[in-house]
């Protein structure tokens, strides 16, 4: 009897049958249970870039990892050649109120502006040496700009004897990246109202990639202040 019911259910689409005999089908109906909102800890992070996997294949570790449960890649991750984790990071920093599509469009527009101005420069350059020096890839310019904007030291306020000292200390890689992106965006947002974000962001990126501009100056100021406060350095551990 039960088998017959199962077969019926396979033949007829669910919705129509549940209208006809709702009582009979309570068992087979789709029930929503509490679903987990995350994966358990023993799930491995996915390795989805081809070049990362090539390393694993070389060291013959791939079959071992394939035996483990793996999380699915996130919606912003792909194995496409255009995928860049740093660009994703910048898009997320640009994003406001969860409007990711808007943020992505802005960053891509800025890249377009960079590309345009660099190509213009390229064509204006007279000699082949000067042409070879001009970087045309906006993603490489972004990487260079962020590399140049990253601070190496940081000032931490530390209270000793009722007086707060600005004590220089080392900075973690993550914090340094955060500050670089934050400063780039702060410098971009200090613009005239008539200038659009992508244009200003493109200029800031080009400036920073060239080791000039507001952001690089801010980094150098911080380094200078750290140097000036080096006498307080011992407060980090005393």
């Amino acid at each position: 009897m039960a088998n017959n019911i199962r077969n019926i259910n396979k033949c007829i689409p669910r919705n129509s049958l549940s209208c006809i005999v709702p009582r009979l089908l309570t068992v087979q109906q789709y029930r929503e249970y509490a679903r987990p909102t995350s994966f358990p800890d023993f799930f491995q992070n996915p390795i989805f870039r081809k070049e990362d996997q090539a390393k694993l294949i070389e060291s013959a570790e791939l079959p071992k990892i394939a035996a483990l449960p793996v999380r699915p890649p996130a919606v912003y991750q792909t194995s496409s050649a255009y995928h860049d984790p740093l660009v994703n990071k910048v898009i997320n920093h640009v994003m406001e109120m969860g409007k990711k599509q808007m943020a992505r469009n802005l960053v891509e527009k800025a890249f377009e502006n960079i590309k345009r101005s660099q190509i213009e420069r390229y064509h204006l350059a007279s000699t082949p040496e000067a042409k070879a020096k001009i970087e045309l890839d906006p993603k490489k310019i972004l990487h260079k700009a962020i590399e140049n904007a990253k601070p190496l030291l940081i000032l931490q306020p530390i209270k000793r004897g009722g007086i707060t000292y600005q004590v220089p200390g080392p900075i973690t890689e993550k914090r340094s990246l955060f500050l670089a992106i934050k400063w780039l965006l702060e410098a971009t947002n200090e613009k005239e109202r008539t200038v659009h974000f992508p244009e200003q962001f493109a200029w800031e990126l080009l400036d920073a990639a060239n080791n000039t501009g507001k952001v690089v100056k801010r980094k150098q100021d911080l380094h200078r202040q750290c140097e000036a406060n080096r006498a307080y350095a011992h407060y980090r551990w005393q």
Binding site: P36, T37, F48, L62, V70, P73, S80, R104
Partner: protein, 398 residues
């Protein structure tokens, strides 16, 4: 019928009391009286209370234990009898052969006869063998004179501390073995090393079931620490059996099993349809045809069905990954959810269908890339008393 309902009620109630009582005493770590047999089942090795009670000199503790054992024994017998009768009734009700009616059939019959909308699956009616429902009990821990058998009886948790003792003993053994090997100037056997990646330590509940003892969180942490230490030693493979008793394998390679053979359409092209492609609230089915020209159809439109680039990227992710972007055709029907959920469902559907068109190496690579994992996560519900699922109200002094 009334019998079954009684049985059901009883089991439902008892299950609520003992959260996961199944797997009774697989690893028989319980201390046993010398009079008991060495069988694995607790029911079989209950002390022979009849012969014991004839003896005159018997301690009060033993007497109380014998009484309890007898009571439990009778109770379990009654339960087993009721379970058997109930199973036969169910088989008759479902019009099937009572002799060949298995536990799987029982579960199906219960789900059919007692449909329940109760949210928590553990609270729904069930009918299981009594050994699974009632937790295992320890055999007698002392003899007739009241003297304990186990040398760690007075720790209160003899099985747990015996386990810790054994683990520490094994560590010492391994260390002395390593010294010997170093003295002989040999190197460890590289093939013998333990692979701990594919399994995890038993959880606290599982360990409690194995030991038939309740342990505290601190004790569980100690167990994990000492076992980790044992497993990290270079010659730990010598105690592989001991270690693996306390490990549970992670889910196996499901993706490699049951890869369907493609069907052929009127044009002679191989195709695979994957139904029930789910992600968030989106549901749909995906058909992959090979050979093709890279044509992607989503609800009758092409890739521009999605307005945003991110979703389009997600759809072609498995095709790019396997290098089949312009070698297969994809046709999908998807409904429900937003662009992110729909593209995620299609991504999984394409990856799942492509299993039939790629070789085993690529299959492994897809697994490592996480393309074959079903993303079962759902939106977490809002909680009363707070503005969101996890978000709490702003703290105010008053």
């Amino acid at each position: 019928m009334s019998l079954i309902i009684k049985q059901l009620l009883l089991h439902t109630r008892s299950c609520a009391k003992f959260r996961q009582p199944a797997i009774c005493n697989i690893y028989n770590y319980s201390t046993k009286a010398t009079t008991t047999s060495g069988s694995n089942n607790v029911l079989d090795n209950i002390t022979d209370w009849e012969t014991l009670s004839k003896k005159k000199k018997i301690s009060k503790a033993m007497k109380a234990y014998l009484d309890r054992a007898q009571e439990h024994d009778e109770f379990m017998k009654r339960q087993q009898f009721e379970y058997k009768i109930g199973k036969r009734h169910l088989a008759n009700m479902m019009g099937e052969d009572p002799e060949t009616f298995t536990q799987k059939d029982v579960d199906r019959a219960i789900e059919y006869l007692f449909p329940s909308g109760i949210y928590d699956p553990a609270a729904r009616p069930l009918m299981k063998p009594p050994e699974e429902v009632f937790p295992a009990r320890k055999a007698a821990e002392f003899d007739e004179a009241g003297r304990p058998h186990h040398f760690l009886f007075y720790t209160g948790k003899p099985n747990f501390f015996k386990l810790m003792y054994d683990a520490a003993d094994n560590i010492k053994n391994l260390q002395s073995f390593e010294d010997k090997v170093i003295r002989k100037k040999a190197s460890p056997d590289p093939n013998g090393s333990l692979n701990l990646n594919t399994s995890v330590w038993l959880t606290k509940d599982q360990l409690e079931q194995v030991l038939v003892e309740n342990i505290t969180d601190l004790e569980y942490d100690n167990f994990k620490a000492v076992m980790e230490r044992l497993a990290s030693l270079p010659y730990s493979y010598r105690f592989k059996e001991f270690i693996e008793k306390f490990r549970k394998p992670l889910s196996s390679q499901r993706f490699a099993l049951e890869i369907p053979k493609p069907a052929y359409d009127s044009e002679g092209r191989a195709f695979i349809t994957t139904y029930e492609c789910l992600r968030k609230k989106a549901r749909g089915d995906v058909t992959v045809k090979s050979p093709g020209t890279g044509k992607i159809t989503i609800n009758g439109k092409d890739l521009t069905y999605f307005d945003d680039v991110q979703s389009r990227e997600q759809v072609i992710f498995p095709l790019i990954f396997t290098g089949l972007l312009d070698k297969v055709d994809v046709d999908c029907h998807i409904e429900g959810g937003g662009p992110s959920g729909q593209s995620g469902a299609i991504r999984w559907g394409i990856a799942w269908s492509l299993r039939s068109f790629v070789d085993s190496n690529m299959l492994q690579q897809m697994q490592v890339a996480g393309l074959l994992t079903r993303d079962h996560r759902r939106r977490e519900r809002k909680k009363p008393g707070q503005p969101g699922a996890r978000k709490k109200p702003t703290w105010k002094r008053r």
